[in-house]
Amino acid sequence: MDRTVPGAAKTGRTHAILRFLRPDGTAIGGLPGFASDRKEMAALYRLMVLTRSFDEQAIALQRTGRLGTYASSLGQEAVAVGAAAAMRPDDILLPTFREHGAQIARGVTLTELFLFWGGDERGSDFAGPREDFPVNIPVASHIPHAVGAALAFKMRKERRAALCIFGDGATSKGDFYEALNVAGVWQVPCVFVISNNQWAISVPRAVQTRSDTLAIKGIAVGIQGVQVDGNDAVAVREVVGEALEKARHDHEPSLIEAVTYRLGDHTTVDDASRYRDDAEVGKHWKEEPIARLRAFLTAEHGWSKDEEEDLLTEIREQVEAAVEAYLATDAQEPAAMFDHLHASLPPALAGQRAELAGKDGGDG
């Protein structure tokens, strides 16, 4: 597909992308300590496979009219899962709409996620991570929220950090720059993770910004920016973990650009084949994160075929159970639209509510 894009500015600097695992799963050199912990690595792998399985089911439900518009995270599982795996329970996550893996890793249930994507706001009432923020749909507006939450932690002298994930497209927004600037000058415990999947709907990275990398956008505001291979779960976990530590202990914010690739469409109402070469997508399938981690597990930790099959069976059952629970959840009564608006309903609305419920609403 022909598309003329300006070349990146030639700044003369070379940038290093942090990576521990090659696309074939072999280790480049020394690994962080947790990579030798078989249980921990298997858990990381499980979350990524679960995320992808959830993703497949969500798309299937949407295609059969049982879910609303859905944003697939296919190919980006290592960013979300790796980042969330580095968090402590009392840190908080501020996700955008493609971080299902992070939410799952944080303890949001699959049924809650299905409810959310099915248009039921009870899906945002997480039973698990109560203080995590709900999915942010407007692009980039949760970035200043993250700085505000981090400011609250700092003011209350709590050793916690806010982790905010957003896409490459969000880095073109004013909110991103304003939030980053304040985080830099006020030194708040906030970690910004760009899940750079190379595409903002149909706009490729090179047409979004002439900046060499997205990570260098931190330089102007005095925040350290690093680029990490977003398809290497070990690298994401390690780099985000270090950044969170720095945030909690030194109130030092970080900007992390996790370079990954959106293997699927932008959302279920998008058809990426209309603007993106299949050949380009095919090339990136060779770098995708789950096969990479599986190869590492197999070679380094003797992950067996039986274990793989057991895992897939267990995950299939878990996802199916969540789908069943989601589909069996009764829609809220129409009158529920009056909930959470007023502590005590004003007479005019009480009348409308009663009328909806089939009672005599009076003249309200």
Partner: protein, 375 residues
């Protein structure tokens, strides 16, 4: 005719200054642009330039005079062919103190913003037939307070009451507020809770929302209201969207509506806009009492409250009850004037004109009630 040179407002917030030095004497010819005097304010010494040409006929305020109010005549300039005998009539003209004192207002553009022109005479508190306020016990001592002071007192009291309350915005700390509303707060509460922001309306509005989501109670002061995405999409809607889980106890406050000479882009009145947004409470006080009692209520409210002030009202004085903890309920109007034949309803600075109208109608034998919506 001789022209008076008035004590100029050399900064948007200057109310008075010292006449440090005259660089001309009586009888000197001056042309436009000549430096004629030096004036000291609390911040700096500045030079005063002549605007027109002429001759210095008389110096009215001597060198070294302190505390000269803005707009006080300081000298008289004679035009061509005029002599000092013409001065009598000019000097006898009403001096600034007989008119309501011009209120120097800080505007969004700092020093480029001129001081407000003379406030309308009738803008003072209504002279007759005020209704008894059911929220103020009979016999309560009343203290004459400006709206500006009342807003500051409300914030200070709430900040003393809870460590979770803090204020941030442009110029709120070191500068003591672009409109001098946060005067003294930095001294009392420190930089941790009185926070100067970069010029980042969208950023700090969103940041305030995030802090509120995380359990603090921010007061976000705007020089000029903007950042709709955060006020509406983030602050107002999240409680509903999160199934009642996540509240946003935040106050967005600042001047709203037209002030003097601030032109189209600083005169927007957002009252009706914000009133259409489910999840937002909109408060528009008129008196200092309403400003204080309602701002305290807004800070305690678990929901986002838009608190719309008026720049022209900031300097106006009202009687405020001297009560330990005076909080007015949000959601109730106030009868500002009793009347039996017709009702005039208004809010904010509109109350000035509603009360004037009622007064005028009373003169014509129509007894009007006046209601202040307040929110």
């Amino acid at each position: 005719m001789p022209t008076e040179i008035l004590m100029p407002a050399l900064s948007p917030t200057m109310e008075e200054g010292n006449l440090a030095k005259w660089l001309v004497k009586e009888g000197d010819a001056i042309s436009a642009g000549d430096v004629i005097a030096e004036i000291e304010t609390d911040k700096a010494t500045m030079e005063v330039e002549a605007v027109d040409e002429g001759t210095i006929g008389k110096i009215l305020i001597g060198e070294g005079t302190e505390g000269v109010k803005v707009n006080t005549p300081i000298a008289v300039v004679l035009g061509d062919g005029e002599d000092a005998s013409a001065i009598g009539s000019a000097a006898a003209a009403p001096a600034a103190e007989t008119a309501p004192q011009a209120e120097p207002e800080a505007g969004p553009n700092g020093a480029t913003e001129p001081a407000a022109t003379t406030a309308p005479a009738a803008a003072a508190a209504p002279a007759s037939a005020p209704a008894a306020d059911p929220d103020i016990p009979a016999g309560t001592e009343m203290v004459s307070t400006t709206v500006r002071e009342a807003l500051r007192d409300a914030m200070a009291e709430e900040m003393r009451r809870s460590d979770d309350v803090f204020v941030m915005g442009e110029e709120v700390a070191e500068y003591q507020g672009a409109y001098k509303i946060t005067q003294g707060l930095l001294d009392e509460f420190g930089a941790r809770r009185v926070i100067d922001t970069p010029i980042t309306e969208h950023g700090f509005a969103g940041l305030g929302v995030g802090a509120a989501f995380a359990g603090l109670r921010p007061i976000v002061e705007f020089m000029t209201l903007q950042a709709m995405d955060h006020i509406i999409n983030s602050a107002a809607k999240t409680l509903y969207m999160s199934g009642g889980q996540m509240g946003c106890p935040i106050v967005f406050r600042g001047p709203n509506g037209a002030a003097a000479r601030v032109a189209a882009q600083h005169s927007q009145d957002y009252t009706a806009w914000f009133s259409q947004v489910p999840g937002l409470k909109v408060v528009v006080p008129y008196t200092a009492t309403d400003a204080k009692g309602l701002l305290k209520a807004a800070i305690r409210d678990p929901n986002p409250v838009i608190f719309l002030e008026n720049e022209i009202l900031y300097g106006q004085t009202f009687d405020v009850p001297k009560l330990e903890d005076f909080v007015l309920p949000i959601g109730r109007a106030r009868i500002a004037r009793e009347g039996s034949q017709a009702t005039i309803v208004s809010f904010g600075i509109g109350m000035t004109y509603a009360l004037q109208a009622a007064e005028a109608l009373a003169g014509e034998g129509v007894d009007c009630e006046v209601k202040s919506l307040r929110n």
